[in-house]
């Protein structure tokens, strides 16, 4: 019988544990990185597949970006709401948010190719060859300009990297024995960051994904991508929490059914959120039936893309919805880990669905090493960065003022 009135002593962290942590993860990360580098090099130096590689690059990049930014958003959200339940696992989210600088570096090659070499760009507005693209540049040129794009990228990454540093560093300072002022400061700045996050994530989604089709527009697009960001962050956090618990790097008694249920509940909530937003976007465009809007779905429902769209609805909404519906699934760490992997694969499919019709179009969907390469490369790099974080830092924020309350968190 566990009860709030009889706390069990916290196992003392093993000082030498840090060196042993993350060894396997580093190996896996390096292996993926190696395969990814080879595939990317083949794709890049093959003249025929260079453009396709650019689109694949966008999938891989936005995939890891969504995980890292989603984790940062999760951390800020927990500070903003002064959540108690999440304190025992907040370090895991901080760990996943920590490679933000690396994400910034990953974008540099894209910036070079897309902006400085218009011939091989994936953005039609940079190199308008068709009348449609020329019209888009004519109408939206103030926003879709080289300088505007670069200024926004610099601003977005500056905000994200600064706040990653702010939140992760603050939490690590607590480990070293900083006073309660740190927690208060993080809470104070979490609100402003969430507002900035809303704007930057929305405009980044316009710049990176929506501007692949510069004539098309949807005001809900940023919210759609936000759903993907939050789901990827939550799924990655859940997977990492279960993994670290199973491998003993987080004391198993710290993460109980009550904490897992909260994570599972959030996964379920944002699965519904995504379904709601995705269907709203589709239904309004379908109903109004305006050619400049319907082109987006026409492209994704004809020439063999229809099954991909239907699969997306099932993979992103129907299957996770019914999987996570029961209380049992939300409290079972094995099931949560399974559905987290599934949700991350769903995010990849979503990004594929957003990006690749712009390359394949009427040729129908295709899948090759050009798409796998960047995902493996970036995924591997992020895993290596996370393993480095694991080696250097504790896996629980045990000096947080609310840590003890979080250990004893009970759902009612």
């Amino acid at each position: 019988m566990t009860d709030a009135t009889t706390p069990t002593p916290l196992p003392t962290p093993d000082a030498s544990a840090g060196a042993a942590r993350g060894g396997t993860l580093t190996k896996i990360g390096l292996a993926l990185l190696g395969i990814g580098v080879v595939l990317c090099a083949i794709a890049f130096f093959d003249e025929d597949s260079r453009t396709r590689f650019g689109f694949g690059y966008m999938i891989g990049f936005t995939f890891v970006w969504a995980i890292v930014l989603g984790s940062l958003f999760f951390v800020a959200l927990q500070h903003a709401t002064s959540s108690v339940w999440s304190v025992v696992l907040r370090r895991v989210a901080e760990m996943l948010a920590s490679p933000m600088l690396l994400i910034g570096l990953m974008f540099v090659p894209m910036l070079f190719v897309a902006i400085l070499h218009p011939d091989s760009t994936i953005f039609p507005w940079r190199n308008p060859t068709t009348e449609m693209a020329k019209h888009a540049v004519h109408v939206k040129g103030t926003y879709l300009s080289e300088s505007g794009f670069m200024i926004r990228m610099a601003l977005f990454f500056a905000i994200w990297i600064f706040f990653t540093w702010f939140f992760v560093r603050g939490s690590l300072k607590q480990d070293a024995g900083a006073g309660p002022g740190v927690a208060a400061r993080m809470k104070k700045w979490s609100g402003p960051f969430i507002i900035l996050f809303g704007f930057t994530a929305t405009f980044a989604s316009f710049d990176w994904l929506m501007s692949l089709e510069p004539n098309w527009f949807s005001t809900i697009y940023g919210v759609y991508v936000f759903g993907g960001i939050t789901l990827s962050g939550l799924a990655a956090i859940t997977l990492a929490v279960v993994g670290l618990k199973r491998s003993g790097h987080i004391a198993p008694e710290l993460i109980r059914g009550d904490h897992l249920y909260s994570l599972g509940g959030l996964l379920f909530a944002f699965t519904c959120f995504w379904g709601y937003i995705a269907f709203s976007q589709f239904m309004l465009i379908w109903y109004a039936n305006m050619p400049e809007e319907t082109i987006y779905f026409t492209k994704r429902l004809s020439n063999g893309w229809g099954p991909v769209t239907v699969a997306l609805a099932f993979v992103r909404f129907v299957i996770p919805f019914f999987f996570l519906l029961s209380r049992h699934a939300k409290m079972n760490e094995r099931k949560l880990a399974q559905i987290s992997v599934f949700i991350l694969l769903g995010q990849l499919l979503d990004l594929y669905w957003l990006v690749m019709p712009n390359y394949f179009g009427a040729d129908g969907p295709g899948l090759g090493y050009q798409e796998f390469g960047p995902v493996l490369l970036f995924g591997g790099a992020v895993l290596v960065a996370i393993a480095r974080f694991m080696r250097r830092n504790e896996m629980v924020a045990s000096k947080d003022p609310a840590f003890e309350a979080s250990r004893q968190f009970h759902l009612h």
Partner: protein, 203 residues
């Protein structure tokens, strides 16, 4: 009227410590009682397990009703728009399912919500406006400061001696016998009279 003359409806053991109540509930559960309950002035974590309560069937009722409601909502829209009064809107097919999804969803929520309310009332046996257990002074105590475990006389295992022994075994210091309200006897007679009157009426 003396206590000895009144009908025994159960026995209550009163505790001051939540842990003592949980330990007592575990004992009663293991003794195989079926008609018994715990009363606490606040939610007590771990009591469900200690009492051996099974998961509620409520989620299945809600889901089933919701799915039925969703199907009915979609069928209603199909019947109205494509069968009974077909009107071509915006050049779209009569059965334009995307337009019907919001109503399907609303019907899902409506049916699920109403079934949840109805099911909750049924499962928690709400609507019994009075219970002999609740007409005791002891109810004032377990809704303010103390915690109690009640063994009902209707339980097949219940005898006053056995219940007393079981509660003694839990270490309970304050065991009281619960009697039916004083006027129950006259109520019983009155209801018998009602039954008789009805029978006459039917004849």
């Amino acid at each position: 009227m003396h206590d000895q003359d009144r009908k025994v409806v159960g026995m209550i053991g009163l505790f001051d410590e939540p842990n003592a109540l949980i330990a007592a509930a575990e004992k009663v559960r293991d003794a195989g009682y079926t008609k018994w309950d715990c009363h606490t002035p606040y939610p007590l974590h771990g009591l469900d397990d200690a009492m051996g309560l099974k998961p509620s069937p409520m989620p299945y009722i809600t889901l089933t009703a919701g799915l039925i409601g969703g199907c009915l909502g979609m069928y209603m829209m199909y019947w109205m728009s494509a069968v009974d009064y077909p009107v071509r809107i915006g050049g779209k097919p009569y059965f334009s399912w995307p337009a019907f999804v919001p109503i399907t969803f609303e019907a899902f929520v409506l049916f699920a919500g109403l079934a949840t309310m109805g099911g909750m009332i049924k499962l928690t046996k709400l609507g019994r406006w009075a219970s002999p257990l609740h007409d005791n002074d002891v109810m004032v105590e377990v809704t303010t400061t103390r915690l109690g475990v009640v063994l009902e006389a209707e339980d097949p295992k219940f005898t006053q001696e056995a219940a007393q022994a079981l509660l003694d075994e839990t270490g309970c210091q304050d065991i009281r016998v619960l009697y039916a309200p004083e006027d129950e006897a006259s109520e019983d007679e009155a209801s018998e009279d009602d039954d008789a009157a009805t029978e006459h009426g039917e004849v």
